[in-house]
Subunit: 337 residues, 2 copies
């Protein structure tokens, strides 16, 4: 832009300071001068220069969002929640696709250090908690979606993996299953071990003996789920149900079943997690756990903005939201022993 605050000031016959006050609603301006200034702004088509503003005010009104994979509808929905609140509060969102790479996560975190962004929301971080703590301790604003964090400066929102996992297993047990495979993601991921924990707890509650050979790793993706279940099939193990730690892996199980001629749900029941849109369309429809993704993004963003503005956690820091098991065809067959 060529026109700057001093030009507006000249036209309006006031000082740049006054123009600034008008723009930033600094109350202490008479209605008359405010009008003059507004007219001048209008007339010149003045737009405040963001960089100058940022430099002077030491904030950018921009939040970074580090997401493992933007083209995964699970994350996209969370981003949608974040973005929507951002828009309403006049914040901008810089999207950072980490491609599931820790290195990229770190790279993007550096935007904090050079003040490109005022804060960052990390969705299911790969970074160790310790590393996040260090940044927070230095005063950088961080928020976490999808994981509980033990640091009083880091707001976080997550869902109770253990709880819904127990519900999944209970549902399967009630349908008559006692030999239930658990397909987990990468073992380091919080979502993996918490879901595993729920699985184990539920087995215990129902006095079903734990068979470690029924646990397999599928890396949270379709191919991984496909390979994992094939390993189990090939070992000749007996089981009548699969609880996959996400829908992608469940999709892999479908594929393997087609190849092996195994009927779902009569011969094998399947339950996934995420309520991926595909789960409603695939045949048979896939039972899955639905998480309030949009809400998680929205709530955390709201909290981030609030704490950045007040510099205080006036109340809640940790948000735990409930997920819900949606029973569909893939697990709707009762077996009798």
């Amino acid at each position: 832009m060529d026109v700057k605050i001093i030009d507006v000031a000249a036209i309006a016959g006031v000082s740049p300071a006054t123009v600034s006050r008008v723009i930033n609603q600094h109350s202490k301006v008479s209605t008359k001068t405010k009008d003059k200034v507004m007219r001048a702004i209008e007339q010149l088509g003045y737009h405040p220069n963001a960089a100058a503003k940022n430099l002077r005010s030491q904030r950018t009104m921009t939040i970074g969002v580090i997401v493992p994979d933007i083209n995964n509808s699970y994350y996209a929905e969370i981003i949608k929640g974040i973005e929507n609140i951002a828009y309403a509060r006049h914040y901008k969102v810089i999207i950072c696709d980490a491609h599931n790479l820790k290195e990229r996560e770190v790279d993007y975190l550096n935007l904090l250090l050079d003040r490109t962004i005022d804060g960052v929301i990390i969705i299911t971080p790969m970074l160790a908690d310790e590393e996040l703590f260090q940044l927070a301790d230095k005063g950088y604003r961080i928020g976490i979606v999808g994981k509980y964090i033990e640091h009083d400066q880091i707001p976080c929102i997550y869902t109770d993996n253990v709880k819904f996992s127990q519900e999944v297993v209970q549902h399967l047990v009630e349908a008559g299953h006692r030999n239930i495979v658990f397909l987990n993601g990468y073992p380091e991921a919080i979502d993996s071990y918490e879901r595993l924990e729920g699985y184990l707890k539920a087995l215990r509650n129902h006095q079903i003996p734990f068979r470690p050979e029924l646990i397999e790793n599928g890396n949270f993706n379709e191919e991984g789920g496909y390979e994992a279940i094939k390993r189990l099939f090939n070992k000749g193990l007996s089981f009548s149900a699969v609880y996959a730690a996400n829908d992608e892996m469940a999709l892999g199980v479908y594929k393997a079943c087609t190849e092996y001629g195994i009927r779902i749900p009569e011969q094998l029941a399947i339950v996934g997690v995420d309520n991926n849109r595909i789960s409603k369309y695939i045949h048979p429809t896939l039972s899955s756990v639905n998480q309030p993704k949009y809400t998680m993004g929205a709530i955390l963003m709201e909290k981030m903005i609030d704490t950045m503005n007040t510099n205080e956690f006036q109340d809640k820091r940790v948000f735990k939201v409930d997920s819900e098991l949606l029973v569909r065809a893939s697990s709707s067959f009762k077996i009798t022993t």
Copy 2:
């Protein structure tokens, strides 16, 4: 950050200008001083302040991307291409979800005016070409994905809707269909009328009479496709195939077929566009046109960055990429008359 360029300069025993030169690889620095400076930077943990840099250099190294809906895998894939190039070229990407609202598109475009971003890529813009021209004429950098634009300062990339539409219809005709429904999106959308144009051309080529009553609008979404095809069913019109201008609407057709007990593809053949991931999973699998989404995003971003840096279109401005019809089960039944 508390440490600034002058602090580094002091420690290294040089001037701030030299430090700046080192940071920005301004060659004309002796290896010795460069080393000293690097050490000082390291030692102090110095990070250049982005706002100051932006203000001084009049650029933000940030590109805005205005997308109709981020939680649509079609767009998400394009963004992925954009984002990946941005990362490689050290650009940041501000994501702007227009929620299919022209008003929000305009809002986000304003980021250009206050120099928050150096340029903006609009994916299938709602804004009239004229309005885009005006911005470009004022020197703002704009790029378009998914539409041809007639302005020598606006790079654009798009796919040949007319061409692949003809292929779709030809495929259907070869399978014996002569009464083919065309489900289009909102009529104003370029993708709608170009696909319609291809449909009409193909009919002409095959000397099939055009029946206007076989054209219905489905607004590019599942619900719209569902309603549209129901209107046709209810009118008692005869047709044996549906060409839906996108997969979402095709999904709606599936739903209606289930309700009406119509078998796909024996009683009704269906072809969509976008190669939505669901098309591979739904039963029967949906024939669809695959667009090189990722590539479109990547190529355009590359072009944007190049032109922003050289201030010139050294060569190509318009990119036309090919799409490909993927024939699946939903249209794999030959009928004989």
